[in-house]
Amino acid sequence: MHSFFFNYVPGNSLIHHLDPRTKLLAVMVASIFIFNAETFLELVTIAGFFVIIAFISGVNYSIFLKSLRPMSLFFIFLFFIQLFLSEGKPIFTIGFINPTYEGLITGLQITTRFIFLILFASILTATTQPVMITSGIERLIRPLPLKYIGVSSFDIATMMSLSIRFIPLLFDNAKKIQYAQMSRGMDFKNNIFKSFSSVAVPLIMSTKRTAQDIAIAMESRCYQGIYRTSLFELEMKNADWIVLLGISIMVLLFMFLI
C-alpha cells in the first residue's frame, strides 16, 4: 500500500545478496571518495563505478534516477548560484547577468558530486530491505559505548522498527480523519488553518493513545534493551569479505598514490 515509501526493488543479484553491513560500509567509503573528488577524471571514474555496480545489481536505471527527483530543484538552484555569482572570466554579459567559466566549472563539479552521493546511496536502498539495513546498522553500532548514554544498540534498532511502523500508521490515520472531517462538511480548499487544526488535533490524540498502548504492551512483555534474536540474522559470506578486501585495497591505493 505504501510502496512509494520504500525504494527496495526485489532481485537476485550479487549486490542483493551482500550483507547490509558490507553495503553500508561501501556506501560510506564511496561517499568519502565522492566528497574528495575534484578533477574531471575522478568524477568520470566515479560515474564508471556507478554504472558498473548499477548494472551488476540488475535494478532498472530509472529507479536510481527517481531517487534524484526530490533534490533536483536544489541541484539546479546550486548550479545557477555558482554560474552567476562566481567571479572570473565572463561567458557573456547582459546587464547584471554575467555567467563565468569558473562558475560553470565549479557549478558542474558541485552538482555532479552531490548527484553521485545520492546515486550511490540509492544503490544501497534499492537492493536492501529497510529491515535488513536496520539490522546492519544495529550490528555496526554495537561496539560503540552507548551504555554511557543509557541505551543499547538493540534499543536503537527497536526504535527504528517502531518508527518505520509509525510512519504509514500516521499517514493512514491522517487520511481517515481527513475523510471524516470532509464528511462532516469541512472545506479543505478554502480554509487552510481551520482544516489543518481539524486534522492535527484528533491525529495527535489518537497517535498518543496508540503510542501509550505500545508502551504498555512492551512493558507487560518485559521489554529490556538486551540482546534479542532477529527474524533476519545477518551472516558475512565469502563475497562480503572479498568486497571489503577490494574496498580496503582501493582506499590504501588511493591514500598512497595521492
Binding site: F74, I81, L117, F120, A121, V151
Partner: protein
C-alpha cells in the same frame, strides 16, 4: 550473550514510554517534511516543530535519540529527509548540516528545559530560538563549505527563506510545551 554490561542498562518502565514516544517523534519529524502549508514562495514545513517538541517534551536523552533514529531512518532508505530524499548521501551533501543540526538542537533544547522545572512561555520560546540558531548555523556552514558559497549567499539561500515558517513553528512548539506534558 547476556553479559554483565548489557544488564546494567535495562530500561525501566517510564523509560519504555519515553522510548516509544521518541520513535513516534522520529516518525513525526519524517512526516513533517511532507506537511506543507503552501503560503508564499517557500512552503512552510513542520520539520523543525517536531525537533523542538522532541527536545522539550522528551528531554535531552530521548530527544537526541529520536533525532538520531530519524537520521538512521533516512540512512535506511526511507524518504524522510526534506522533499522526500533519502540515503547517506544527503547527510554528506550541502543540506546535511541542517539534519545534523536537528540532533544537536534537540539535545540543547532538552538540556535547557531539564534545567528549569516548568518554564514559562518566554523561557521556552528562548530555548527554541537557541535551537533554531543552532540548526541554521550548522546548516548554513555546511551549505557554505560544500557549495562553495559566500557567507551572505549561504544565509540568503539557506536561512532567510525559512525564517517565517520556522518562527511559526516556534510559536506552536512553545505553546504545546508550556501547556502539555508527557
Amino acid at each position: 550473550m547476556y553479559s554483565d554490561e548489557s544488564e546494567t542498562n535495562i530500561i525501566g518502565s517510564s523509560e519504555i514510554k519515553k522510548m516509544v514516544f521518541a520513535s513516534l517523534f522520529a516518525a513525526m519529524t519524517a512526516i513533517g517534511a511532507y506537511m506543507k502549508i503552501p503560503i508564499g514562495p517557500v512552503p512552510i514545513t513542520f520539520q523543525v516543530l517536531f525537533v523542538f517538541l522532541a527536545g522539550s517534551i522528551l528531554g535531552k536523552k530521548w530527544g537526541t535519540l529520536s533525532m538520531i533514529v530519524y537520521i538512521l531512518l533516512g540512512v535506511a532508505g526511507l524518504p524522510v529527509f526534506a522533499g522526500g530524499a533519502s540515503g547517506i548521501g544527503v547527510l554528506f551533501g550541502p543540506t546535511g548540516g541542517y539534519i545534523i543540526g536537528f540532533v544537536i538542537a534537540a539535545f540543547v533544547i532538552g538540556l535547557l528545559t531539564e534545567r528549569v522545572k516548568s518554564a514559562g512561555l518566554v523561557l521556552n520560546s528562548l530555548y527554541m530560538v537557541i535551537g533554531l540558531i543552532i540548526i541554521y548555523t550548522l546548516g548554513a556552514t555546511q551549505l557554505m563549505i560544500e557549495a562553495q558559497l559566500e557567507p551572505i549567499e549561504a544565509i540568503m539561500s539557506g536561512v532567510a527563506p525559512f525564517v517565517i515558517g520556522d518562527l511559526i513553528s516556534i510559536l506552536i512548539a512553545t505553546y504545546i510545551t508550556t501547556k502539555h506534558e508527557l
